[in-house]
């Protein structure tokens, strides 16, 4: 048998060596917070709002959605809420919906909190904290922006200023 054949076989074995070895040197990571979810479809859960009405993300298809996860015991959430309301007022007629998702508290507590800050955008009650879990929230508040098809565009860990909210939302309004 020709020497070239042996060389060809040796090259093939080396190529296979690379194939069998390469996966062993890859590392394992976990999502680092809500930023890692960009490009994934947001889960749709059947929830209730703070007045007991049935709500779901399905009803928001075709609109950009800013979902803000919060709780009444969280001081940064309280500080951020008025700016979210400003954003809701500023972009209400431009295809942007703001939804506040209370994590793990009762509707009464959530409504009392929202009323105290004169919040008028929808408040959903996520009693079993499912959005908090699937969005890999590292803390509260957590904000996730979804496109018109319900796909996560961006995720933010921690409170945002009004300027940051506008910077995140304004380019989407133009695209939308």
């Amino acid at each position: 048998m020709s020497r070239y054949v042996y060389w060809a076989i040796a090259a093939a074995v080396l190529a296979i060596a690379f194939i069998v070895l390469e996966p062993f040197f890859a590392s394992t990571t976990t999502h680092a917070g809500p930023q890692g979810l960009a490009g994934e479809a947001a889960p749709v859960f059947a929830l209730r709002d703070d007045r007991g009405g049935a709500v779901s993300l399905d009803a928001y298809r075709g609109r950009i959605v800013v979902m803000n996860l919060w709780a009444s015991w969280c001081p940064p959430c309280r500080a951020e809420m008025p700016d979210l309301q400003r954003l809701a007022n500023a972009y209400a007629d431009r295809g942007i919906a703001i939804v506040g998702v209370n994590e793990g508290e009762s509707p009464q507590r959530a409504r009392a909190f929202a009323d105290s800050l004169q919040i008028r955008f929808p408040i959903w009650i996520d009693g079993t904290q499912r959005y908090g879990r699937t969005y890999a929230a590292l803390g509260l508040p957590t904000t996730v922006i979804l496109d018109a098809n319900g796909v996560v565009l961006r995720g933010f860990d921690g409170p945002l200023t009004f300027a940051q909210m506008q910077a995140a939302v304004a380019p989407l309004v133009h695209k939308h």
């Binding site: 074995v13 296979i16 996966p23 976990t30 508290e105 009464q108 904290q129 908090g132």
Partner: protein, 318 residues
């Protein structure tokens, strides 16, 4: 030649055993991999010698196929034995996604109604879609994955008026998860028990939850009310981890109990974790094994046809 074939088959068998029974420590032992490599070298040297000796092109081709196949299979086995990472168990919280490089992403299901009927973990592989990982092994490249159920505790916290309160796990894998994965262990009354902790920020409380099986709970209560049901012992501290009054209570069968100014319940349920063990590369091993078997078949056919033609020729000569 027959010795070469026997050694080649031993190499193939050893590596196939690694695939069928993955996760054994012996596969990573130095002596095992040296032995496997030595067997491959024996096959290569003996095969080279016999291919040089024979004038039959078909037999030479069969020998080279067996040598190549053995080298590939042996390489897969030794690569796995020496370079593979340790076996890992991925314990994910409901809703959590863990990226496992070179495999894809493990998506842990949200426990339906937080009970035992949780869905399956899925492995989402680039270009291959999602695959359910069950209790039977799933081979993916250089790894085998298998779901194993483990006990977890779904906790709920309410204030004394019954209003639900947010549960957080500042030191857990998912901050906003009410499902405790119970990954730590503690000894109480001679029993080795899993425990975990969570916070109730609205009430400024930190709660430690220790899980007991039904038998352990019965032992703890000396045959008391919790007999036949698993139970969770709650110990409540304030946010600075100082003890508070009436801070310890046992919740059996998921019933709510009062402790440290909270109403707490802990439902023991099962939830899948995923054990990932390295294996020799499935495709490379299959390809190598096919080469060995193909070479073996060709060698047998060639020698049989030789035998059948040999008497004929001698008869013709006489």
């Amino acid at each position: 030649m027959s010795a070469t074939i026997a050694v080649a088959l031993v190499v193939v068998a050893a590596v196939v055993v690694e695939l069928v029974l993955p996760g054994k420590a012996i596969y990573h032992a130095g002596w095992y991999n040296v032995a496997l490599s030595a067997l491959v070298v024996v096959v290569l040297l003996a095969g080279r010698r016999s291919s040089r000796r024979t004038a039959d092109a078909r037999l030479r081709f069969a020998t080279v196929a067996m040598m190549t196949g053995t080298a590939i299979v042996g390489l897969s086995g030794v690569a796995c034995g020496l370079f593979a990472p340790d076996d890992q168990t991925f314990v994910g919280a409901p809703g959590q996604r863990l990226r496992v490089a070179s495999l894809g992403e493990l998506a842990f299901p949200l426990a339906s109604s937080e009970g035992a009927a949780a869905g399956a973990v899925t492995l989402e592989r680039p270009l291959r879609g999602a695959v359910r990982i069950g209790e039977s092994p799933y081979y993916a490249g250089n790894f085998v994955l298998r779901a194993t159920p483990r006990d977890v505790v779904y906790v709920e916290a309410r204030d004394l008026r019954g209003n639900r309160l947010t549960v957080t796990q500042p030191s857990g894998s998912v901050f906003l998860s009410p499902v405790l994965l119970m990954e730590h262990r503690q000894s109480i009354a001679g029993m080795d028990l899993p425990y975990d902790s969570f916070s109730v920020p609205a009430a400024r409380r930190v709660v430690k939850a220790v899980m007991f099986t039904a038998a352990q709970a019965a032992m703890l209560l000396r045959g008391g009310a919790a007999l036949g049901e698993p139970a969770v012992l709650f110990a409540v501290d304030d946010e600075n981890e100082r003890p508070v009054a009436n801070a310890i209570a046992l919740s059996a069968g998921g019933r709510a109990v009062r402790a440290g100014g909270l109403m707490l319940s802990g439902q023991v349920t099962t939830y899948p974790s995923v054990a990932v063990a390295a294996t020799p590369n499935l495709i490379a091993t299959a390809f190598g094994a096919l080469l060995v078997l193909g070479g073996l078949t060709a060698a047998i056919v060639t020698s049989l046809s030789r035998r059948s033609t040999a008497p004929q020729r001698s008869h013709e000569r006489s």
